[in-house]
Every structure is written in C-alpha cells, then in structure tokens.
C-alpha cells in the first residue's frame, strides 16, 4: 500500500507547550515537512528566538541554537558565513524581529545574508503575557494598551516586511496567513521558496506569517482565525511583496 501521510522526520513526536489554536504548531509542522522534502535535515542549523517559540529546539530534530532576544540574525549571519554549506534559518516573532531586534534584522537583510527568515506576526507578545507588539493593530487591546493601541501615543503597526523589501540585497519577501487550509498551503509554498532560495544561493529571503494567538487575543480558535482574515490581513495584505 502506498504511504500518503506520515509524521515529519524533522519534527519530534512529542506534545508541545503551545496553547490550543496557536499558529506555532502549524508553522513548525510546515517547516519540518519542507526540510524533509528538500532532504536538508542534516545540513540545517536553526536559530530559535526568545518568545513563545523559545524551546523550538525541543521539537525540531536537527541542530539548533538559541539567540538572545532580537539577536537571531546576528547569530545566523556568523553561522552561515563560516559554514556556507549549511542551511541556516531563523524563527522569530514580531517583538524579536521588529522591536528589540530591528537593527539586526535590517542590517542582515541589507548585507544580503543568504539566510531564510520565518517571521511569526501575531500582533502581540505571547510569552510575557499579551503586551503590545510593534505589529499590534490600531484599537487592539493588550495588557500595555488597555484602551486599545492609539496612533497618537503608540504609532502605527510596523510593516517591517514592506520596509525590508525596498533594500536591494533582499531577494524574496512574502506575507502569508494560517487562517484557513488554503492559506496554510500557500504558506507552505512560500516557506519552501525561502529555503530553496538559500539552497540556490539567491540571498536574503523572508516569509511573514500572520499567526493566531487566541489566548492573548481573548478569542476562541475559530474567532482568532476569522480575526486574521477580517482584521489583520486588511492591515497586513497577503501576497508576494518582493
């Protein structure tokens, strides 16, 4: 009988600590499926962030490093430069990549480091308990914007992907979403492209993933998926940016 479905070799078969309805589990699965499909597990070095995915290395069955909050792309830059034969990717949340690590993000992109960046945008700080992220929507209530984000005081949701796309050394930027199975398939295609680009030495490739955080959005999982479709994707339009 033909085997049509199996657990990814690169994903350990253990329960994760993620909340019900969280997007990290879906994204971990997509990444590990792709690593298996591209047959690069033995070449991969991943950088886990500080944030909810801080122990991603417990779930991924390949070489991994931690990085201080925001510094993943500095760590990844050096790893790829000294070991160009490896496939190096970072996995970072919105606070990590677009607040505390903005400098590392912009300069790694501007140097055109041949890296793959998986950017999880859930418009909130999850691990610390639901504070405002740089990507928090206007009006969105968080524990540090109890009355909703106001442009006058907190500025606007930061569109880091569009900012990076203007840099000449950046080769590929796409924004995808996890809010329904069709979008998940598109997300997988984009992530695969970002890995393939590195294998082909094309250069800096980033996939931004709109990802649900039902716990700190104070929604049930279905409402969270719908909120991505109805609110987040309006502020952060889906599709290829570059």
């Amino acid at each position: 009988m033909k085997k049509v479905f199996s657990h990814p070799r690169s994903l350990r078969n253990i329960p994760t600590h993620y909340c019900p309805g969280c997007g990290h589990g879906i994204t971990h699965r997509l990444i590990t499926e792709i690593i298996d499909e591209l047959n690069i597990r033995e070449r991969v070095i991943a950088i886990a962030p500080v944030g909810c995915a801080v122990i991603a290395y417990d779930y991924w069955d390949f070489d991994c490093s931690e990085a201080a909050h925001g510094r993943a792309l500095a760590v990844a830059t050096a790893i790829k430069r000294v070991r160009p034969e490896n496939i190096v990717f970072t996995y970072q949340g919105d606070g990590d990549l677009a607040a505390i690590g903005t400098n590392e993000t912009i300069h790694a992109a501007n140097r055109g480091e041949n890296l793959t960046v998986i950017f999880i945008n859930n418009a909130i700080y999850g691990m610390t308990g639901g504070q405002m992220a740089p990507t928090t929507l206007l009006g969105q209530r968080t524990s540090t914007t109890p009355n909703g984000r106001e442009a006058k005081f907190q500025g606007y949701p930061l569109k880091i992907s569009e900012m990076l796309a203007v840099l000449p050394a950046v080769k590929y930027v796409e924004r995808v979403s996890l809010h329904n199975p069709q979008e998940v398939l598109k997300a997988k295609k984009a992530i695969k492209q970002a890995f393939q680009n590195q294998i082909d030495n094309i250069g800096f490739s980033l996939v931004e993933i709109l990802s649900p955080c039902p716990t700190y959005w104070e929604m049930n999982p279905k409402q969270a998926m719908d909120w991505i479709r109805d609110a987040m994707a309006k502020e952060f339009p889906l599709g290829k940016i570059k």
Partner: protein, 359 residues
C-alpha cells in the same frame, strides 16, 4: 621562522589572534581600538577567515556567539562603552559555555568619558560584567609583544574551558608601537576548525546538537550553575599567572597590571638602584587573580621575617585594590595610589608615595 616587525598594540593583538587560528572577527569602530578592526579587515580575509563590520556592539558579540557555536575560533574587540553593550552577549556565551575571545582596549569613563587610557573596567571584566553568576578569564598584557603572545593562549584557554576570555588592555597599550617577534603558527590552518563534538555543523551521522542557556525544569539551572562553579574552581587553581620582581627581599611590594606595571617597574628599578627594598607583582591573569602567590608570601614561604607592605597602583580608583585586600586578608598593610579619567600615576608619584608610606 619568526621575524621582528613594528606593530601597535592593537595590530599586535589582531596578528596574535590570526596566528592563533582565529577564523572569525566581528567588530564595531570605537577609539582607541580602531587599528585592531582595520588590521582584521585587511588581514582576516587573507588568512582565509571571515571579517564583518557589525551594525552594533550587540550584533558583533552575537556574531561571535554564532561563529563560536559552529566550533570556529572567533573574537571581537571594543573599548569601554562598547564593552558595556557587549555584556548581554558575554553572559549568553558564558551560559552556553562557548569559547570566545573579547578584547577591551579601555578608555576613560563613566559614560562616554574620553579616549585617554584607563583601567576603570576592572570590576566589569573580573566580576562577570553581565547578568548571572559567571566569570570570564581575564588576561592583561603589558607590552606590545605580550599583547601578541597572549592571544594564542587566550584561544587555547577559551577552547579548553569553553569559556569567554577577556583580553584587557588600555588605550596606551593599544596605540603604542613596538618592534615585536611574530610567530607564524604552523598549525594555523589546522586550528581553523578544531573538531568540537558539541558544535553546530548539521546533524549528519550524529544526534542533533543544541546550544542553549535556558533551563526551565526544576533544578536544571542550578545544576548548570554548579557545573560552572566547578569549572571556575579548577580555573582558579590552575590558571593564575603573574610576573614578579624582587619578592624575596622586598619590604614594599607594588601590585600593578598592564601598562601601569611598566611604569611601576621603572619606579622599582630606580628605587632598587638607591638600595630601597621594593618589589613588584604584575598579575597577568586578573581573573583568576594570583592570590595564591600573595598567600604564599604572607605564610612565610618566601622566608620573610616581617610582612611586606603592599602598594596597589592602578589607573582606576581602587578596583584591583579589592582583590589585593581579599588575598592579603588583613595580614599586611595595603596602600593605594590611583588616578583615572585620563590621569596616569607617574614614576615620580609612585616613588614619592613609597617614600611617604615608609619604604
């Protein structure tokens, strides 16, 4: 074969690192260590290694973290304000037990201070500097030749103990030029990638490796800390280094390190010529501090009738003084002479201080 060339302290450190098989350098410009980053920019690619001018000190130290995680000999350099920024990364390097060499060519502080030589980062270097219970091994060269020669030792110690090493110089040492012998390490190429079984290289034919300092399970972080403490105890026992002069007859022992020790040495020579019984201890490792030597002196191993008097001379306001006092532990008198913020104790000031304290 070796040859004699004229180099500044900064350049000699860079050349020493290259001779030690350093294969990765990331840095950010800051005076007075700029000759180091420029020397690396020119010479690291020739040596087959990777040079990156980082966007910040934070990025530079985290690049060193990444390069070291692959088993590559890696270093960065900076000066005082930049070192403050690097402390986060150094704490992570200590916590993950990665080898790394970090050079601090100290300048005057606090704050932006100025670019004159100083030794005011002694506490920061020897006490850990960043968050958590950790120590860096701290080496303090006093000549351009020694600045070069301590680099291979630094990388060897970093690899041996999987620990960050700080090479602590000052603006004067960094800027001054002296003719030095440069040893071309025959093993340079071989050392580029020493096999380190914990390194991230891709999990081919082995289980995956993880570099991390996060330990959430109950008791796990305490276990790591106990492991670190055990390592530090071994380092303290085995790695105390110093140079000494006239300890067997000295009634006054000057304790000074780095460029300050050279000035002190000149004062010792002048006083000795006049028959004064003055000696010198120059710690080469600031952490571990050569406390065993001081303990031995005071426990009579050097066969002295009376306890000598110690004079600590620093380009800071009593930082190493604390380590000398801890080592002396009340068994002898400890005097102090220090200036900072651009002031450097002179030979004459040392001589007149010794006269005042009765040497």
């Amino acid at each position: 074969m070796s040859k004699k060339i004229l180099l500044s302290g900064n350049e000699a450190i860079a050349q020493g690192a290259l001779d030690a098989g350093c294969y990765f350098y990331a840095g950010y410009p800051i005076t007075p260590q700029n000759e180091l980053i420029s020397y690396m920019a020119a010479n690291m690619p020739k040596a087959g290694g990777v040079f990156i001018q980082a966007e910040s000190e934070l990025a530079a130290i985290n690049m060193v973290f990444g390069a070291s995680a692959t088993g590559t000999r890696a270093m960065t350099s900076s000066s005082s304000p930049g070192m403050s920024l690097k402390q986060e990364g150094i704490s992570y390097i200590a916590g993950t037990q990665l080898p790394a060499v970090i050079v601090n060519i100290m300048r005057g502080g606090p704050g932006l201070g100025n670019i004159t030589p100083a030794q005011s980062d002694y506490f920061q270097a020897t006490r850990g500097g960043g968050h958590g219970d950790y120590h860096c091994i701290v080496l303090a060269p006093s000549t351009v030749q020694e600045a070069h020669d301590l680099m291979p030792l630094s990388f060897d110690l970093a690899d041996k103990y999987r620990n960050p090493i700080i090479v602590l110089g000052d603006g004067m040492l960094g800027q001054m030029m002296e003719p030095i012998f440069v040893m071309r390490h025959a093993s340079r190429v071989a050392r580029k990638r020493i096999t380190k079984k914990w390194a991230l290289t891709g999990c081919k034919e082995r289980n995956p490796n993880v570099i991390k300092s996060l330990y959430l399970k109950e008791g796990a972080l305490e276990k790591l800390n106990l492991l670190l403490q055990k390592k530090y105890k071994i380092i303290k026992e085995k790695e105390q280094r110093y140079e000494s002069l006239h300890l067997d007859t000295a009634e006054v022992i000057i304790v000074a390190y780095g460029i300050m020790a050279r000035i002190a040495k000149a004062a010792v020579n002048k006083l000795r010529a006049k028959g004064k019984k003055v000696g010198l201890i120059r710690p080469i490792t600031l952490w571990p501090f050569p406390e065993t030597l001081i303990t031995q002196i005071l426990s009579g191993l050097h066969k002295k009738k009376h306890s000598p008097l110690f004079l600590v001379v620093e380009m800071s306001y009593g930082q190493m003084l604390e380590d000398v006092k801890l080592a002396v532990n009340g068994k002898a008198k400890v005097e102090f002479l220090g200036r900072a913020g651009g002031g450097i104790p002179t030979e004459e000031e040392i001589i007149s201080k010794i006269k005042r304290i009765g040497g």
